[in-house]
Symmetry: C2
Subunit: 306 residues, 2 copies
C-alpha cells in the first residue's frame, strides 16, 4: 500500500486523521462498516471558492445571457450587476448577509433562482456539465475541474479504502455538482447532498418531466445540514470537514458518546498557492478553538494544494 495521505505534511492534522481512522478500524466491533459515514462541505473545503463560488460564476454567466436575450433586464438587479461585472455589489450582498442585513438578498436570490428555472433537471445537468468541463478559474490559471484540493481528494479516497461512505454536504446546488462528483471526488451522484430548488413533475408520453421551479426547496446550510445528512444517510457521521460558519452544526453533529469522531476545519491562509481569508469563518474558527476541532492549515498542512 502507498503511504497514506502523501499530500499532507507530517503535522498534527495528518496525525489526527490517521489516528481517527486507526481507532475506527482497528477492531471492527468499534465501528461496524455500515456505520462509517463521513461528510464534507464542498465550497472552500473540497474545492476553491474564491474569488467567488464556482456555481455563482455559472449563474452569473446565465444572467448575462438572459440580458442579451432580454435587454429590459439590464436595469434590474442582479441582472445589472452580472451584466456589468459589478462583483462589488454581489460581494456587498453576501457581506451584508453575514452581518445580518438581508435587504438586497431577496433580489439576488430571486435572480439566482430564475437563472435556471423552467428547464428540466436533465437539461440543467447538461448545462452544468458543459460549464464545469469548459470554464476556467479567473485567476489561478487552471480549469475549474482542476480546482479541487488534492489533499482532500486523497482523504476522501483514504476514508473509502477504510470502509467509509463519503458524502458531499454542500451549501451549493445538489444538481450542479452531481455531473462531476464521481470524476472529481470519487463520490457517486447519490452521495451528493446540497441545496435544492423546488421541482415539479409533469406527466407526458415520454416518461414524465421533472422541471426546476424558481423557488428554493431548502438551503443546505447551517442547521439544515445535519437534517439533510439525516435525510440522505440516516446516520450521524463520524467525520465532518468544513471551512465556514455554515458548517458549524454539521461539525457539531458528528459527536458520539461511544465512537471515535473527528472534525476538520480548513483554514485558508495561503495567499501564494490559493487564498488567504477568514471572512465568513469567524465563528467556526472560534468554535474550533473552544471545542478542540482539528484546524487544517492550507499553508502548513498541505504539501500540494491542487
Amino acid at each position: 500500500m502507498n503511504t497514506p495521505l502523501a499530500t499532507w505534511n507530517d503535522r498534527p492534522a495528518k496525525a489526527a486523521i490517521l489516528d481517527f481512522v486507526e481507532r475506527c478500524t482497528a477492531d471492527s466491533s468499534v465501528v461496524p462498516v455500515d456505520q462509517r459515514v463521513a461528510v464534507f462541505d464542498n465550497d472552500g473545503t473540497l474545492w476553491c471558492e474564491k474569488p467567488m463560488p464556482i456555481q455563482l460564476d455559472f449563474i452569473l454567466r446565465r444572467l448575462v445571457a438572459m440580458v442579451e436575450e432580454d435587454p429590459g433586464l439590464r436595469s434590474k438587479e442582479p441582472w445589472r450587476a452580472a451584466y456589468e461585472r459589478d462583483y462589488a455589489w454581489l460581494a456587498s450582498v453576501l457581506h451584508d448577509h453575514y452581518a445580518g442585513d438581508d435587504s438586497n438578498l431577496a433580489s439576488l436570490a430571486a435572480g439566482v433562482l430564475a437563472a435556471h428555472a423552467d428547464i428540466s433537471v436533465e437539461r440543467f445537468e447538461e448545462l452544468a456539465a458543459e460549464f464545469l468541463h469548459t470554464a476556467r478559474h479567473p485567476t489561478l490559471n487552471r480549469s475549474y475541474l482542476q480546482c479541487a484540493y488534492a489533499p482532500m481528494v486523497e482523504l476522501l479516497g483514504y476514508l473509502r479504502e477504510h470502509g467509509f461512505v463519503t458524502y458531499i454536504a454542500s451549501g451549493g446546488g445538489r444538481d450542479f455538482m452531481r455531473p462531476v462528483s464521481e470524476e472529481l471526488y470519487g463520490v457517486p451522484r447519490d452521495g451528493v447532498i446540497g441545496s435544492a430548488v423546488a421541482l415539479e413533475y409533469s406527466a407526458n408520453e415520454s416518461g414524465g418531466t421533472i422541471t426546476r421551479r424558481a423557488t428554493a426547496d431548502y438551503l443546505d446550510d447551517g442547521p439544515e445540514k445535519p437534517i439533510r445528512i439525516w435525510d440522505r444517510a440516516g446516520r450521524r457521521p463520524l467525520l465532518a470537514a468544513g471551512n465556514s460558519n455554515g458548517d458549524i452544526e454539521m461539525l457539531d453533529f458528528t459527536q458520539h458518546s461511544d465512537k471515535p469522531y473527528l472534525r476538520l476545519l480548513v483554514l485558508h491562509d495561503d495567499p501564494d498557492r490559493e487564498f488567504d481569508y477568514t471572512s465568513g469563518s469567524e465563528r467556526a474558527l472560534k468554535r474550533a478553538q473552544e471545542k478542540g476541532w482539528t484546524v487544517v492549515s492550507v499553508k502548513d498542512d498541505w504539501k500540494t494544494v491542487f
Copy 2:
C-alpha cells in the same frame, strides 16, 4: 449460480424480468453499472399492507398509549377511533380520500403527525425497531418482519447481483423503515426513500439533536415519488415496481428512449395466501393495460408469497 427467481412461477412476468436484466447486462455499454437503478414501492409491493399498512398499526398503538396517558384525548379523533379500535372510521377516511373527499383527513393526519412528534430521530428509530421486531400481523399468523414477499426479496437480490442499486420509494415513513430495511430487503438505510416529517436541529453540548415536528415535510406519493427519487438517486430508474395509484408517476418515470426499462405492478388476487383487493389501484391497473406494464399476479406468478 442458483436458478434465478426460483420463487417465481415460469410465466410472462418472470420472463419479462429475466429478459430485462439480460438486455441491461449482456453488454456493459448498454447500461453502465452506475446507471442501473431500480425503485420499489413498499406497502403492498414489498410487504403486506392489509388489513392496514403496518406503520398505521404502529401509529394507532401510540395513539392508544397517548389516551391512556391523557384521557381527555378519548373524545377526539383519531385518538377516539384508535382507542375504540374503530377501524371502520379509519377505513372510511381513506376511502373518502380516494373518492376525493378529504373532510376527515385533516384530523387523521394531525393525529398521525402528533403520534411521534417532539422526540429525537434516534428515539423514534428505537421505537420503530422495537415495534417491528416484536409486533405480529393480526390475521396472517406471522410477525410483521415475516410479512415481506419472498419473490420480491429475491428480485431485489437478483437485481443487485447484476449491478443494480435498489431503492425503496415508499409512501410510508422513511425513518420507520430504515431500522429494518437491510435485514428485510438487503437495502441499506440510505436506500430508503419515503415520506418525512419536518425535522428541527437544536444545538447542545452532546452533538446536537434532530427532533421530529408535528408537520409533514413531504408525502412521498404520486407525482412526488419521481421528485424524491431524483433527489436521492439523481437518476431516472430503469425498473420500478408498485401496486397502487400512488405509484403511477414513479412507474411512468422509468421510461427511456435509449435503454431497456421495466414496470411491474403487483396485483393482489390471492385471498388464500394473502389478500384480494384492487381498491386504490384502479387507475394503475387501467394504465398497466394501456401502457403494457407487466402485471404481477400474487396468485399465479409467485410460487411462495412469504
